[in-house]
Amino acid sequence: MERRIWNFIGAGGHDVMLEWADALHLDPGVRAKLDGALEGALDRLRRQGFDILLHTNAVAGPIMNDIYALRVNGPVAARVLFCRGPLPGEDAFTLLAGAVEQGRKLSPADAPENAARNRELALKEPAHRRKLYDGFGKAAD
């Protein structure tokens, strides 16, 4: 059974995950590697669900209230901050912010707080603040 994955949409109508990945300014080859690693991890999250990825340490957390990190070790140690749902009863995940782990610290450092704030906004306006995930790196093609 596949779960739904949503991308959070920021105030300007931008996909925050794509914005974060673009802001890393990676060479095209490196970016393709990151996309492959990220999309693979998200495919597994969608197909296999939360519990088994938590057991195999691919998911860490909660790192803050209801916020988990999908650990993706591609060309950079990417961390996709996400939550379950968050609408009551939905079998879905919402991707809320991106970060890179360096020396056990996240960059940007306030990524968990941003993710928590985005979760609240997604809860308030799910129709306007989310769009269905359709491949992570599509916009970068």
Partner: protein
């Protein structure tokens, strides 16, 4: 082809992308398969660690996707401890497309040599049939039987309690079959419903004096039909059985009452277009006062009616039956009976909102002369009364109808 497969075919044209995807998939595969097979064997990390000659933390590391430093010697030791072999193989990226789409815990499990069907009759390994325990045992009997259209007599054996798992003697035969179909698979359920319909039509009305075993199999097969709820597949067979029971002794009782598995099977497998006939039959028996249990029949009939998406016109059905047979309507009796029927439906299915809504619609839309006494009878027969938020709109609607008249 799934959306995921389409996307991967497009994206795998990029070398860096596909290599990165494949690396993450391999790491995940190894960690997840070690976990899945260890769970399948019922072993803890500590037990496996002792067999391999390492610490529990060593096994824990191997089951982490981000470990990334597996070596063949260690993996082979772990594989042998789990009664498996290690296979290393160069594969195409094309095969990764389907592997990624099909990845599941079931696809990662492998049987031990004792469970491997290759060593027990040459049946190919099928991860769907690897479920341990008695439910898995039943699954290994049922699913090949469904897929290969095994002999119908086998269903009769199961329904009589033969050839079922030894564990759980108090489990009903129909429950074994239903549990073996979990997680729900529409195709397999349809296949089972088709075999149940075949069994009902061919097998059980052939004897005028059924023995105890046949009675048991008949009751159990109807219990199975009730839970399967496939009107399109089962409706005709159950309906035929209901019609034939007048000419042959009904196994297990003189007359099938509303709690009898046949009536319950009929109620839940009634094709919509045929239901008015059944209702007319019940209505005619009620009007003829032939059966003292008629309020229960009405209750069973209302359950079936109320499960339809649109609430049917109960009044029209009863009146049609009455006119066709030239009977006069006995309003007080019909009112009391319908009221009792509504009450029964309400009490038996507290969580079924469509059903309850339709009961209200049916009650509130009866003709004015009918609706007030019916609704009053209904309210009076509900233990503890009906909640005001539900009661008031019904009363209001009934009064409106009375005023209009």
């Amino acid at each position: 082809m799934t959306d995921l497969e389409k996307r991967l075919i497009e994206r795998f044209r990029d070398r860096a992308y596909r290599e990165s995807y494949a690396e993450g998939f391999l790491n995940s595969w190894i960690a997840q398969q070690l976990t899945a097979v260890r769970h399948q064997r019922g072993k803890t990390q500590l037990q496996l660690a002792k067999e391999v000659g390492t610490k529990q933390s060593g096994i824990s590391r191997l089951e982490r996707e981000d470990y990334g430093r597996w070596n063949f010697a260690t993996l082979q030791k772990v594989a042998f401890a789990l009664d498996c072999r290690l296979k290393v193989s160069l594969e195409t990226f094309g095969s990764l497309v389907s592997e990624a789409a099909d990845l599941s815990e079931a696809s990662l499990r492998r049987p031990s040599i004792e469970q491997d069907p290759v060593f027990h009759g040459g049946v190919p390994w099928d991860p769907e049939l690897a479920e341990p325990g008695p439910v898995g045992e039943m699954r290994r009997k049922l699913i090949p039987w469904l897929r290969n259209e095994g002999p119908l007599e086998k269903l009769g054996d199961w329904m009589q309690g033969f050839d079922l798992p030894l564990a759980g003697d108090d489990t009903e035969p129909s429950e074994w079959l239903l549990q073996a179909l979990l997680p729900a698979d529409g195709q397999l359920e349809d296949a089972l419903a088709a075999r149940v319909a075949e069994f009902i039509q061919k097998a059980f009305w052939t004897r005028a004096d059924p023995g105890k075993r046949q009675v048991r199999s008949v009751r159990n097969v109807f219990a199975l039909a009730e839970v399967l709820r496939k009107p399109v597949v089962l409706g005709q067979a159950v309906w035929t059985a209901y019609g034939q029971r007048a000419d042959l002794p009904f196994p297990g009782s003189d007359e099938p009452g509303p709690e009898h598995p046949l009536i319950r099977a009929l109620t839940y497998n009634q094709p919509a277009e045929e239901f008015p006939d059944l209702w007319s039959l019940w209505a005619s028996r009620f009007l003829e006062e032939r059966d003292k249990r008629m309020p229960d029949y009405v209750g069973a009939g209302l359950v079936g009616l109320s499960r339809l998406q649109e609430a049917p016109n109960v009044f029209g059905i009863v009146q049609g039956a009455s006119q066709a047979k030239r009977w006069s309507l006995d309003l007080p009796k019909i009112s009391a009976t319908l009221g009792s029927g509504f009450s029964r439906v309400w009490a038996e299915f507290p969580d079924e909102q469509v059903l309850k809504k339709n009961v209200i619609v049916m009650a509130a839309n009866l003709p004015d002369g009918w609706s007030v006494p019916i609704i009053k009878g209904w309210f009076e027969s509900i233990p503890g009364g009906i909640p005001p938020e539900l009661r008031d709109p019904i009363v209001e609607n009934a009064e409106k109808l009375a005023l209009t008249a």
